[in-house]
Point group: C2
Chain length 309, copies 2
Amino acid sequence: MAKIYERIAVIGCGLIGSSVVRAAREAGAVGEIMVFDASDHVRQRVRDLGLADHVADTAADAVKGCDLVLFGTPVLAVGEAMNAAASALEPGATVTDVGSAKGVIAEALNGAAPKGVFVIPGHPIAGTEHSGPDAGLAEMFENRWVILTPNDDASPDYQAAVERLSQFWRALGAQVDTMDVKHHDLVLAVTSHLPHLIAYNIVGTAADLENVTQTEVMKYSAGGFRDFTRIAASDPTMWRDIFIANKDAVLEILGRFTEDLQALSRAIRWSEADKLHDIFTRTREIRRGIIALGQESPEPNFGRDRGKH
Amino acid sequence: MAKIYERIAVIGCGLIGSSVVRAAREAGAVGEIMVFDASDHVRQRVRDLGLADHVADTAADAVKGCDLVLFGTPVLAVGEAMNAAASALEPGATVTDVGSAKGVIAEALNGAAPKGVFVIPGHPIAGTEHSGPDAGLAEMFENRWVILTPNDDASPDYQAAVERLSQFWRALGAQVDTMDVKHHDLVLAVTSHLPHLIAYNIVGTAADLENVTQTEVMKYSAGGFRDFTRIAASDPTMWRDIFIANKDAVLEILGRFTEDLQALSRAIRWSEADKLHDIFTRTREIRRGIIALGQESPEPNFGRDRGKH
């Protein structure tokens, strides 16, 4: 495959950043790879793992001479990292990121970008519950969606930069969509942020019970709870930042969720059998829609899916 | 393996009932297998699949001469099925079930059981989101927990019946625990019923949004939502019955969940970064506890687990 970028900098090299590094290398999509991370420990691990061509000591050092700069830090750290890197950015370089809340990031990147630099925020919908550079995977983005949220710059140069970044992600195995920043943040509040919030919450609730032991919760978690613990094991710093950065959309969706939950609770209290059956039948249809879309295999997955009641 | 029961009847042959049939056959744990199901369609499928030695036309016919009778119907249908079968039960037979709420079932079975019949309610914590006799699996119970909720009959005959039923489940690959009925229903409200309620609810909430399309929800569901759709695809009749049968424990746990969610929501609204980080760090520890207990492998599962933010 032809190189898409000559030299990229990954600023923040955790689970996703290090997956980009691994995947870009494996795909032959880039020439040189520079890495910077604010953590001494992470920089050392990246060196030990031999992931990058060069591990820089500052963000500005890392981005020099790069035609792509990708921020992989927690969402609320992108602004500071960009400020540190901005003066060293080359004209014509593209700046992107991988954060799950795009409003705050688009503002920070656009606010700090020097003239001639193309800001194209991005979000690969991929990950695991693990964290750090050791947890990255070259195959992380295969058959995953990446959403880019370009600004409204209609110039041919900017459009070409968006197309080039799309090619880069496709080279890493992903499919690419573009979307308005605000809409992205609302969609992700539904498909990702609220599910994580709920999972964190239920695991916390279970931990606080006086008359059910932790061991019991763990032993019998195959009943459904186990899936929530996996989601609730995701990186705490990353999620703290996402909820704060996307609070408006998250609280809006959470309000609707709570309303619906009250209605469901009332139907249970009054043994409204038909209403419950209707609700549960409808949600089953949505699952079928996802399978029909090819997002998931309909077969049960033995190691993982057994144990749902 | 030596036979543990000479002749068993499975009354209600859906996902779990047909898995018991398949697993018992494969383990050589039983002589003859009788099946009854209230649905003509299910009886025909059981015949077509050749699962049983005999498919009876009534519950009473099925249980004649059986030393084990296992009810696999939805929770609220067990009482009626037991009433239909009771007069034909043999003295010395064991009556059990596989329902996820044990209070209602223990009452129904004990109320209808003739003298000399051993009632031992049971609950294999196993399943998939699929339903019906075609979805059953011989390996369904391997390394899964089965909780028996025996009554307080300390007689040697009853104790021997409990031990024999435990042997049966172990022959099918399961581990067996015993527990008080009320405690079972509380534990399962946490580890299974509330997770399902929440999953059903969030999938319903997502379906009702005006400004996010169903297609968007499905396409970007890898962010966490997809796990919920799998749980929310479980059998509607089964779950309607569980929530109604176990409403006291479910509403109690749901009350705590809602309280905690309000506190979490408030922490987001006021950007309480440290509080959020603490909560999310704590839930991660619980996941580690489950891995340490050997309930789950720490490795990411690629087809399934990628895509968590």
